[in-house]
């Protein structure tokens, strides 16, 4: 956990921005390893379909495929930690450059603090940098346990899938297969939640860094209010994670029912729906980041041109 926290530690302001981050190349290598795992599973599927391998091999090919997806998602999480580090280096660069770039202007006399309109939506005008929003503070804490637990569950699911392949007793096989699916997809849901929390951490950094730069210049602080897309992102994220946990519990029940085929028929789409909803939330988080970046560039331009 400490090692993970170290990944996103803010570098000192004098840190050399030209230095490349090693985490980027590591993340690409991890992603490639994930694609390789899924390729091996594809070969297994083709062998089963052509009759060159027994049907029970499909259990481990399933486990290996989902482990491959989890590996690529872990790579994505690593890239996001690199983005967080780079964002802070950008904040330090803007903070260092703006005092020499901004127009000279007399201090503003009568400032009306409160709500404002910006080209990127509603914002606030304050004297000091506003603190983090509660979901952003939570995101900064929660991404770490999610990124640790997700891969652990996926690996456990892979082991269960291998055990299912070798199981002879039908009851044991049914139970192991149910737990395999539930565990793998709970791990995937946690990984996607970790990625969502990392995106929330990026939004936190943008808010905090933007406020810090404006305050350091002695200017009024303009901050974008939480956009609707960010609110809907939170709803999607929590719904997706809850469904991910629910499918795990339901697979636990399906492990011991008399008609597992019926249960598996609707639990399959349910587990995919949980990941689909989490991914939809990620789309909205990325959209929000784009909006906030647009606002930040607009505000930097305004400071350069008007000095206020």
């Amino acid at each position: 956990m400490t090692a993970l926290a170290e990944l996103v530690r803010r570098r000192p302001p004098e840190a050399d921005p030209t230095r490349k981050l090693r985490v980027r190349n590591v993340a690409i290598a991890v992603g490639l390893a994930g694609v390789a795992l899924v390729t091996v599973a594809l070969v297994g599927n083709i062998l089963v379909a052509s009759g060159d391998a027994a049907a029970d091999n499909l259990f481990w090919t399933f486990g290996l495929s989902i482990t491959g997806f989890g590996t690529v998602k872990l790579g994505i999480a690593l890239v996001l930690t690199g983005i967080i580090v780079r964002l802070w280096m950008r904040v330090d660069a803007v903070r260092a450059a703006l005092p020499r770039l901004k127009a000279d202007a007399e201090p503003q006399g009568d400032v009306q603090y409160g709500n404002i309109e910006t080209p990127y939506g509603k914002g606030t005008l304050t004297e000091k940098a506003p603190g983090l929003l509660p979901p952003q503070a939570m995101a900064r804490i929660m991404w770490k346990p999610m990124i640790v637990m997700g891969p652990m569950l996926v690996l456990l699911g892979l082991v269960l899938s291998l055990a299912t392949t070798g199981a002879d007793d039908p009851d044991t096989s049914q139970a192991l297969w149910a737990w395999t699916q539930g565990t793998l997809f709970l791990g995937e849901a946690m990984l996607l939640s970790g990625i969502s929390f990392l995106l929330g951490t990026i939004l936190a950094g943008l808010r905090e860094g933007g406020g810090e730069v404006q305050e350091s210049l002695g200017l009024v602080v303009k901050t974008l209010r939480m956009p609707t897309s960010a609110k809907v992102f939170l709803v999607f994220m929590f719904t997706g994670l809850m469904l991910g946990i629910a499918q795990f519990v339901l697979y636990g029940i399906a492990a011991y029912v008399d008609d597992p085929a019926t249960w598996f028929a609707w639990l399959g789409p349910l587990r995919e729906l949980s990941l689909g909803i989490l991914l939809s939330g990620i789309v909205l988080a990325l959209f929000t980041i784009g909006t906030v970046l647009g606002f930040q560039h607009w505000r930097i331009r305004q400071i350069i041109e008007t000095g206020r």
Partner: protein, 211 residues
């Protein structure tokens, strides 16, 4: 008009104004939302068919109906995934567009030469892999529908349908893995763009104004 500039650390184009968004970024700004909506629709339809198939199994329905539903449901669900992955990719392109257009506007506002990063290699591979993965999953999903229409209630047809499902499952998964890797490369491009912005921002105060 933009001209190429040789820098030791980055490949850039120079101009007096922001170069704005490039074609993939304009597409990203336009298409992320339709893709997002389509994903939600396909996920809902896939879930509904999953429930319908479970009812068929529970009621002892015909084997060909159950296998047909399996193919159609998987096809719909993965059209949902291809839509949501596309939406993620377009949202990343939109972010890269904000850096390109916004970064240029900031340099122009400061009266300095506008330097814009040329499309990095990771961004080019991101676009290429995104298209490959999209085609792989879409073709696999369409084949699910084609094979579903071909199923009869005979042991041979049902066995064929089962084998086809197993192969298409593998193909869909490799398409998904490639799409996820493309997204990783898109995000890795953001790291490079952020590095360029931090370096460029620190250079600006010491440069002479040009306009």
């Amino acid at each position: 008009m933009a001209t190429a500039l040789a820098r030791a650390d980055f490949k850039v184009e120079t101009s007096t104004r922001s170069l704005g968004y490039n074609l993939p970024q304009r597409m990203g700004r336009l298409l992320w939302f339709p893709m997002f909506l389509m994903a939600l629709m396909f996920f809902g339809a896939g879930m509904a068919l999953g429930i319908a198939r479970a009812n068929e199994i529970s009621d002892g329905g015909a084997a060909d109906t159950i296998v047909t539903l399996q193919h159609v449901q998987a096809g719909l669900m993965f059209l949902g995934f291809v839509s949501v992955f596309s939406a993620v990719s377009f949202a990343i392109a939109r972010i890269l567009g904000q850096f390109r257009a916004g970064g240029g506007e900031v340099q122009a506002a400061a009266g300095r030469t506008v330097q814009t990063l040329k499309m990095p290699g990771t961004a080019k591979v991101f676009l290429m892999l995104m298209l490959v993965a999209m085609m792989t999953i879409v073709v696999a999903s369409i084949l699910h529908f084609v094979f579903a229409a071909d199923i009869e209630n005979t042991p041979a047809s049902l066995a064929d349908a089962e084998d086809r499902f197993v192969v298409l499952e593998g193909v869909r998964r490799i398409g998904t893995a490639i799409f996820l890797f493309a997204i990783l490369l898109g995000l890795a491009t953001i790291i490079r763009v952020l590095r360029f912005q931090a370096v460029r921002m620190r250079e600006l105060p010491d440069e002479a104004t040009t306009h």
